[in-house]
């Protein structure tokens, strides 16, 4: 977990920069995230920031693994992204439904697709 314990000096580069997660640790973080999110899916939890308590109760093991494998900023980012993507998909679905309804409506009024 040395990569993500930011306060320690282990990720400090010799010229003062901060070493970023490499491919392996990124992969590890993403896998932990996917496991955690599939647990949230199974428990119908979308927002694990607002529903933090419930998420911790139902997916305790997964969230611990997720937070251990990813940097704090990443954890927050992924949690928020999940909510954002959910809302986005829902909006797209709603617009598609509305479009279909409009098309139906127009067809019933005698419009053709041409």
């Amino acid at each position: 977990m040395g990569w993500f314990s930011w306060s320690s000096n282990s990720n400090q580069a010799s010229d003062g920069g901060r070493i970023a997660p490499d491919r392996t640790s990124r992969q590890k973080c993403w896998e932990a995230r996917d496991t955690f999110f599939s647990c949230l899916d199974n428990n119908d939890i979308i927002d694990s920031v607002k529903g933090d308590k419930e998420a911790r109760k139902k997916c305790g093991k997964e969230i611990a693994e997720f937070e251990a494998s990813c940097a704090t900023a990443w954890v927050k980012y992924f949690k928020e992204k999940r909510v954002m993507e959910y809302n986005r998909d829902k909006t797209i679905e709603r617009i598609k439904k509305e479009d279909a309804a409009t098309v139906q409506d127009l067809k019933s009024q005698g419009w053709t697709s041409r």
């Binding site: 970023a20 491919r23 993403w30 980012y77």
Partner: protein, 290 residues
């Protein structure tokens, strides 16, 4: 055929009538001659004797017409020529149209006078040497802004960049006409050493650039990149940087050409880039290859 025949007979009778007077003996040998002359005049191409029936000669002409209809101006050769010419023209016009469209986009992006995207900047490369916009000139450059602590989009895009680099190199037969550049938006954490280690995981050809906070802010502004890096970060702070996620394709003059975005695949991006490079070559403009 029947008409000339009748006229011959008429001439015949007329001649014989007029020739009745002074002496028959002298006029007699003349008769076949006039007759022969008349025949040859009325149907010049035939050595056909009188016995030729009108029926047969008619069917022959029809046969000729039919033959002409079968092979005449609409033979398969001319049809093929027509189709090929047509297809050739269509392909040519499409290619030209595409080329002009790309040129229009490139010209449009150049703006009037001052370039809209890109321009002068001062940064340093991973060896610590000063790197300015002049280093990009002479080749097509492919500029990406990011930061090494980027959670998911940048690594994906950099993997894509690596694929594009290889594909473009292959398409240019190894000529070094294409410069992939990564400019960090997060200079505090991304020092040359950090950047070097980070970029090595993606592609060795990527040129990493970093600088001071103000230098980076300036280059982001020049490339119209949204820049949100916090200025005063304490060591150990963990934060993310919002930034634009486009690749900027710049021509050898340092002018912006086109954006490559998230929706592009390595294939489609390579296609777009190669089209621009080939247009540039076709126009005979200089391009560094070494």
């Amino acid at each position: 055929m029947s008409l000339p025949l009748r006229s011959i007979t008429r001439t015949l009778t007329r001649t014989s009538r007029t020739c009745h007077t002074p002496s028959i003996a002298t006029t007699r040998p003349v008769l076949p001659q006039t007759l022969r002359q008349n025949v040859s005049l009325t149907s010049p191409r035939t050595a056909v004797p009188f016995s030729t029936s009108p029926m047969r000669s008619k069917s022959r002409t029809m046969g000729q017409i039919r033959a002409r209809n079968a092979t005449g101006p609409f033979s398969w050769k001319s049809a093929l020529l027509f189709v090929l010419t047509g297809a050739g023209m269509i392909v040519y016009f499409r290619v030209e149209k595409d080329r002009l469209e790309r040129k229009r986009i490139a010209e449009m992006s150049k703006g009037v006078g001052k370039p809209k995207v890109g321009g002068p900047f001062v940064l340093k490369d991973l060896e610590g040497k000063v790197f300015t916009e002049d280093e990009l000139k002479g080749r097509y450059s492919f500029v990406y802004f990011g930061f090494t602590h980027c959670p998911d989009i940048c690594p994906d895009e950099l993997d894509k960049m690596a694929e594009i680099i290889d594909k473009v190199k292959e398409a240019n037969k190894g000529d070094n006409v294409f410069l992939p550049v990564f400019i960090t938006c997060d200079p505090v954490r991304d020092t040359p050493e950090v950047l070097k280690n980070y970029l090595q995981e993606f592609h060795k050809d990527i040129i990493g650039l970093t600088g001071t906070y103000d230098q980076v802010k300036q280059v982001c502004k020049a490339y119209r990149v949204y820049f949100s890096t916090p200025k005063d970060v304490k060591p150990g702070d963990d934060y993310l940087v919002d930034h634009s996620i486009y690749f900027y394709l710049m021509d050898p003059d340092g002018d912006f050409v086109e954006c490559i975005g998230r929706q592009d695949t390595p294939e489609s991006a390579t296609k777009t880039i190669m089209e621009h490079i080939n247009d540039w070559k076709r126009e005979g403009k200089p391009l560094k290859k070494d």
